[in-house]
């Protein structure tokens, strides 16, 4: 007997068969790069050039190339670092947290979102390493005995916690992502025609054959990795927030920072996932896999986390007043009304007001509006970090050393440059790797359950010829595609 769910809509539209999925996803990998991709890559490579030039200036002439001064000694570099790390968090949320919550819709987006995580963390790592001034000594952050004696690293410092958090996060995400890629590389390998493709995808697929035992272990490993990645992703941004929260700078010394930063990270990350997915689905014709339903669901997560961030902003302001600490109060009044009022206004508008538009169904399901919204949120989240870092520093306890920060051309070059680095990596990924997890999407195609030995080969063959191309569904199944809510 077959059971067809009458209330659940298929997560993948267009009545795809298993073979269609392989065909659609592998097409991109096998076909010659199209013009739009080449054009996009050229732009990304140009900005990568900008990045390398800025790195060269920073390393060769030193940190003086940046706009930092004695008072504002952390500015765009740390802003960019926190912004990039935050963006990465959505990928892990999709691949780990949504896996634990059995949100099957994640299957279509988790591969690209995880790739985004890895590339965002690479971009993020550039900033603290370059800020060291002598990046070739970056290994000093690890507990090596230094050359003069047996002085170890200071494990009481949140900056050192960050080293461990970011390196763990990067390697764990990479391993999790790669294990997921192995079965898909095997699919490409078994379809490959040319000797180079055969060889490279055989190497990449680690000899995967899809045997029952291997799949069983694969699922166990995925589940455990998801289980450890979930607290990991929360810990990473918590530790990033402690870089500020454990200091005694008014405006930074706030216990609300860890949850507030984590919510902000997921908020900005989902905005970036939406930006990337909206482009990817059109460029690679994946509208059947990344449907309007996916976009609406991601919008909802963005709205929830955006609202948490909004509440955090207001709470923070309230607590500054409630604390009766003069300096704390001044830091917050100065943020909102001081010389950097415009960055505060940008942060409030982009992060608190715009996500509330998602309450409207029309906004949630509109591709154009979602795209604009996602860009606005990314801008807003950049300003959030700028506000926290620069406005708290620029007026310190000694009014004679109050200063303003203005970025140098190298500051701007580094930021724009990491965008180039990010998009170069993402475009290369999108061309040579399967952008959608084929094996996982195949598991959600079938939304019927057949329980009972009623198989009749003749009848099945007969039925097959007349059936609509909906995999697994009988022709008479009560399918309701168009009801969204």
């Amino acid at each position: 007997m077959q059971h067809v769910s009458a209330i659940r809509e298929p997560l993948v539209t267009g009545g795809k068969t298993l073979h269609d999925v392989t065909q659609d996803i592998c097409y991109q990998v096998e076909a010659k790069p199209n013009l739009r991709w080449m054009a996009a890559l050229s732009v990304a490579l140009f900005f990568l050039g900008v990045f390398f030039y800025s790195v060269y200036r920073t390393v060769w002439y030193g940190i003086g190339e940046w706009g930092l001064n004695k008072t504002v000694n952390w500015a765009w570099d740390i802003t960019n670092f926190v912004w990039w790390v935050g963006i990465g968090h959505a990928g892990t949320l999709i691949s780990a947290v949504l896996l634990l919550f059995r949100q099957k819709w994640r299957s279509s987006i988790n591969r690209a979102a995880e790739a985004m995580t890895i590339f965002a963390v690479i971009c993020a790592a550039m900033f603290p390493v370059l800020h060291m001034g002598r990046p070739w000594l970056a290994f000093y952050v690890f507990p090596f005995q230094n050359t003069l004696g047996s002085l170890w690293a200071n494990f009481n410092s949140p900056l050192l916690w960050d080293v461990f958090a970011i390196s763990t996060y990067f390697t764990v995400s990479l391993v999790f992502w790669y294990i997921g890629l192995i079965p898909d590389f095997a699919s490409i390998r078994d379809r490959a025609k040319g000797p180079i493709a055969k060889f490279s995808y055989s190497m990449l697929s680690f000899g995967w054959k899809g045997s029952a035992k291997a799949w069983s272990r694969y699922e166990t490993v995925s589940l455990i990795l998801a289980g450890v990645s979930t607290p990991l992703v929360l810990s990473v941004h918590t530790i990033v927030s402690m870089d500020f929260a454990t200091s005694v700078v008014p405006g930074w010394h706030t216990t609300i920072f860890p949850p507030y930063f984590v919510a902000g990270a997921i908020f900005s990350g989902f905005a970036m996932v939406l930006t990337l997915m909206l482009i990817t689905r059109v460029v690679f014709r994946l509208e059947d896999y990344i449907t309007l339903e996916h976009i609406a669901l991601m919008n909802k997560i963005m709205m929830v986390t955006g609202s948490i961030v909004g509440v955090a902003y207001i709470t923070e302001f309230f607590i500054a007043w409630y604390s009766q600490v003069e300096f704390e109060q001044y830091a917050f009044i100065n943020r909102a009304t001081g010389p950097y009022w415009w960055s505060y206004a940008a942060m409030m508008t982009c992060n608190v007001i715009t996500p509330q538009l998602v309450w409207f169904r029309r906004v949630r399901y509109s591709i154009g509006l979602t795209f604009i919204l996602s860009i606005i949120v990314n801008i807003g989240m950049w300003f959030e970090r700028f506000v926290i870092i620069v406005t708290s520093l620029h007026r310190d306890y000694l009014p004679s050393s109050w200063a303003m920060f203005s970025p140098s051309i190298i500051d701007i070059g580094l930021y724009v440059g990491t965008l180039g680095l990010f998009f170069t990596l993402f475009l290369l990924f999108a061309k040579f790797f399967p952008v959608i997890n084929m094996a996982e999407v195949k598991t959600i195609l079938k939304y019927t359950v057949d329980n009972g030995p009623t198989y009749n080969p003749e009848k099945a063959a007969h039925a097959h010829a007349h059936q609509p191309a909906i995999h697994g569904a009988p022709a008479s199944a009560p399918v309701t595609y168009n009801q969204h809510d």
Binding site: L18, H19, T22, P143, L151, W152, A153, F155, N156, P158, L160, W161, F164, A165, T168, T171, V172, V175, F176, P183, A186, S187, R189, D190, K198, F199, S202, M203, L204, F206, G207, W208, K209, G210, S211, A212, K213, A214, W215, S216, R217, Y218, T220, V221, I224, L225, V228, S229, P231, L232, A439, E440, K442, T443, V449, D450, P453, Y455, P457, G472
Partner: protein, 174 residues
């Protein structure tokens, strides 16, 4: 050494599951089943035991935790005690973040290495497979034949009766 295999090709996971049960009930030993995605319930049908990887994961995690705590306490408490803001040399609360991160680090990488090792996954120049469609849209049940392949006709019938869309014979280097 080469071996002969009978390959039953199935189009649907449910059909495959019933076939696995029936073939095993008929007293035929199944070599392996290859599928494009994890088929739920096949472990029980094939009699595959539950993986003990979670136990390994626990021990990797404990190793990481122990290592992290030892490292921090030894380095800052005994090998080169430093006075940092007048705080105790061994301030356990400050050691929590690194201890947690290393627990996760060891669990994840230990698991990955164990998984690759026991499943025999490593980069290869060439990967011979039973049927290339097993990573696309077909479910392949492989049954080992003896040297003369005398059981092949009987197996063909058995597999066809259980819904196999085709049955092939394949020689594999083992």
């Amino acid at each position: 050494m080469t071996k002969q295999f009978a390959l039953g090709i199935f189009d649907d996971e449910d059909v495959l599951l019933h076939a696995v049960e029936n073939v095993r009930a008929a007293g035929v030993k199944i070599y392996d089943v290859f599928s494009p995605y994890p088929v739920h319930g096949i472990d029980d049908a094939l009699g595959i035991e539950r993986s003990r990887l979670p136990i390994a994961a626990f021990f990797f995690g404990m190793t990481g935790l122990a290592f992290a705590l030892w490292m921090q306490i030894y380095m800052l408490g005994f090998d080169w005690p430093m006075i940092i803001g007048g705080k105790p040399h061994i301030g356990l609360p400050a050691f929590v973040p690194v201890a947690f991160e290393l627990t996760v680090f060891f669990t994840c990488h230990g698991m990955a290495i164990t998984f690759f090792t026991i499943t025999g996954l490593y980069p290869r120049f060439k990967t011979p497979v039973m049927d290339v469609r097993a990573t696309d849209d077909k479910f392949v049940m492989a049954i080992e034949l003896d040297e003369t392949s005398s059981q092949f006709p009987r197996l063909t019938q058995l597999l066809r009766d259980n819904g196999a869309s085709e049955v092939n014979q394949k020689e594999m280097t083992h």
